[in-house]
Amino acid sequence: MGRKLLLEKAQVEGIRNYDVYRREGGYRSVEKAFKEMSPDQITDEVKKSGLRGRGGAGFPAGMKWSFIAKPEGVPRHLVCNADESEPGTFKDRFLMEFIPHLLIEGLIVSSYALGSHLTYIYIRGEYSWIIDILETAIGEAKSNGWLGENILGTGFNLEIYIHRGAGAYICGEETALLESLEGKRGLPRIKPPFPAVKGVWDRPTVVNNVETLAAVVPIILMGGEEYAKIGVGKSTGTKLISACGNINKPGVYEIDMTISVEDFIYSDEYCGGIANGKKLKACIPGGSSVPILPANLLLKTAKGEKRIMNYESLSDGGFAKGSMMGSGGFIVLDEDQCVVKHTYTLARFYRHESCGQCSPCREGTGWMEKILKNIETGKGKMSDIDLLWDIQRRIEGNTICPLGDAAAWPVAAAIRHFRDEFEWHILNPEESQIRNYGLAHYADPLEPAVAAV
């Protein structure tokens, strides 16, 4: 049904190998770009495509490319962010594992556009087998003349190196990634200066997500304008969604961003409905950092419209009544799941992954984790809920990097939408240890919203 641009060929037997990939039309975008286009034209096409960063923040890729500083005599770099460590997000892994040459192809075209002769893939260390797959693909590309010196006789030289991370989520944050790439502790930098001006080794650098860079291939092949016709509004092209949780068919899906959340969860083409005949309770639509939504606010916006799987619709209602597309990690919770426990699990993750540089995140994440643990284990107090709210409020926006926000939002959203469940936990300390609060009213139809909050 939906159009596929990235994963169309992913199931072709042997597509991981160069010969098959090439036979299926691989590397045509490099030929087209190198022979028919100037670097600026490529950037223009990417701008026209409306492609937004797929790593979480959704920043327009073409615009980011056009910001890169071009001082005389200073090398520039492209860095591919393959650190993918957000709980619930595993789309880049799928792409790199099954169709590695698509990423390499995207990297070559993008490097050419940006003038990067040394491009890095910073990959999550735990993806050890994928590193082998990518190394093989890079080797094949090189022996077939797509990498190395004087590619296609254009005089353009390019090497791609893989750098593996050492197991820190924070190294996915672009400036921490650059520090780590330089061989230092993965501490986010204080911005400005932005990577586009001073990135790796103080050289102008563009950091993009795996999926973003892979999407450059279809954009070049079909043209930016054609690409922009897929989807709606500012959500152009296709998006990879990694769906997991209590659904019948967890996996990675490529969607064009016109499909409704309801269809995505219940249709057989995608998630195939809630597993074991249970009911939908809640969902985190964009990876662990984005706000959780109860079933009733997930399927319909506060205005009563169908919620669509795209940037605008998922964030419709702001933080009070919406969520975010984030990194496309779609986590579904059924009626048997406990939101308190779930929030505690996330808080534990963020505490563990905070780099510890700035005080609100270093201290606040640990504090929230401890309070949530108390509530979860039946030792909570009613005042803890307001305290949690106050702590997250004072972390959010006050930190060096967005990890602080990412730690604050899930707690805020859980309290905002599931306060009843927190209160029930606290008021029923013993019962909450043996049973869950259940679906409660979280799927009840919403009163039509009167005015925006």
């Binding site: 992954e353 700035c358 005080s359 201290e363 305290l387 004072r394």
Partner: protein, 365 residues
């Protein structure tokens, strides 16, 4: 003049001044002085790369510049944000900044041991000042405070990791002042700690300066440990001919004894001339030094409660900023301590102060 430099106009808490391009909001605010200057726990003007971490200096930018007068969406770290021409900044006139700062103080204190009664830094601790000035009463934290395995870092410097606020200043000192950095921050998040990888002494020349830059009692002078409270000592400026450093120091005397030697700090508590280990740790006789006279101490400091004639009056900016609201007095030491009776005037005591001088029998009413 041959070249006119274009200055940037910036308005902080309703006071407008002109500063050179490239000045940070914090340094511009320090030019105005008084409470308009945000507190800074990690920034240190002489240490490259410092700042941005503690978040106590957050301020609100109500207008980015004349060219782009939009407000900035988030509070910004004033120590790492440069002023723009026509920028409007709110520090103590911003509810949002004050509230965030309260939060930061609480965060910095939840795992702090609050062992001030046995801490050598008490009385000259920036976390104490910060808490009095910007914190809330009481704590909402009900959990065990963080502890660490003890590390012995040698004969000169005492490390109390539990007190550390991870400002990274000591790491920059070691990086920028000594031949080779021997310590750093290990681990991540709230488990981060200052340590040498394998238990090792910090002995590099100039490493003693970590004691002066440390805002809290995490790094203190072992040769001074538990010897005296700082407010019983008489600080005097002194110098000696030193082949390694400027030799310009502050001596902390009681009687003829030099209890400790520190570098001189400016009004923002920052050392401008770092001193060598020899001056700091080895020259503990008055005869080693040429005394210049009493150190000028800020009126706000507990140390100045000894009533110097020469104390530095901070510039009163508040009336201009707050429309008549009064600044708050941190703490009047006379309310809590017997020793600093108004009757004692350190400046009038001939030579260094002795414990006898503090004896209530001798105090004039």
């Amino acid at each position: 003049m041959a070249e006119e430099k274009k200055l940037f106009k910036v308005t902080i808490d309703n006071i407008t001044i002109e500063v050179e391009p490239g000045t940070t909001i914090l340094n511009a605010a320090r030019k105005i002085g008084g409470e308009v200057a945000p507190p800074a726990m990690c920034y240190y003007s002489t240490l490259k790369g410092s700042g941005g971490k503690c978040r106590t200096c957050l301020v609100e930018v109500a207008a980015g510049s004349t060219a782009d007068p939009r407000p900035m969406p988030k509070l910004v770290a004033s120590c790492r944000t440069n002023v723009m021409d026509g920028m409007i900044v709110k520090n103590i006139t911003s509810e949002k900044a004050l509230d965030a700062r309260k939060g930061i103080v609480e965060f910095l204190l939840i795992n702090h041991p609050l062992d001030c009664p046995i801490c050598d830094q008490a009385g000259e601790c920036y976390l104490q000042d910060l808490s009095y000035e910007h914190g809330e009463e009481g704590t909402r934290y009900e959990f065990k405070r963080r502890t660490f395995e003890k590390h012995d870092i040698g004969p000169y410097i005492q490390l109390h990791m539990t007190r550390c606020i991870l400002c990274y200043r000591c790491v920059y000192v070691a990086d920028q002042l000594t031949q080779k950095r021997e310590h750093g921050i290990l681990d991540r998040g709230d488990q981060s700690e200052i340590a040498t990888y394998i238990h090792k002494a910090l002995e590099n020349d100039f490493i003693g300066n970590v004691i002066d830059v440390c805002p809290v009692g995490a790094l203190t002078d072992k040769t001074f440990r538990f010897k005296n409270r700082v407010w019983f000592l008489k600080p005097q400026d002194a110098h000696r001919d030193c082949p390694k450093c400027s030799g310009r120091v502050t001596l902390w005397n009681r009687g003829d004894e030099v209890f400790r030697v520190t570098a001189r700090k400016d009004q923002w508590g920052e050392v401008q001339e770092f001193i060598c280990n020899e001056c700091r740790f080895e020259k503990k006789k008055t005869a080693d030094w040429v005394i210049e006279g009493p150190t000028r101490i800020s009126r706000h400091s507990v140390i100045s409660q000894g009533h110097y004639v020469d104390t530095v009056e901070p510039r009163e900016t508040l009336p201009a900023v707050m429309g008549g609201r009064k600044p708050k007095l941190l703490m009047d030491i006379n309310n809590v301590s017997e020793v600093n009776r108004p009757g004692i005037d350190l400046s009038e005591i001939q030579g260094p102060a002795h414990s006898m001088d503090f004896d209530s029998e001798n105090i004039k009413p």
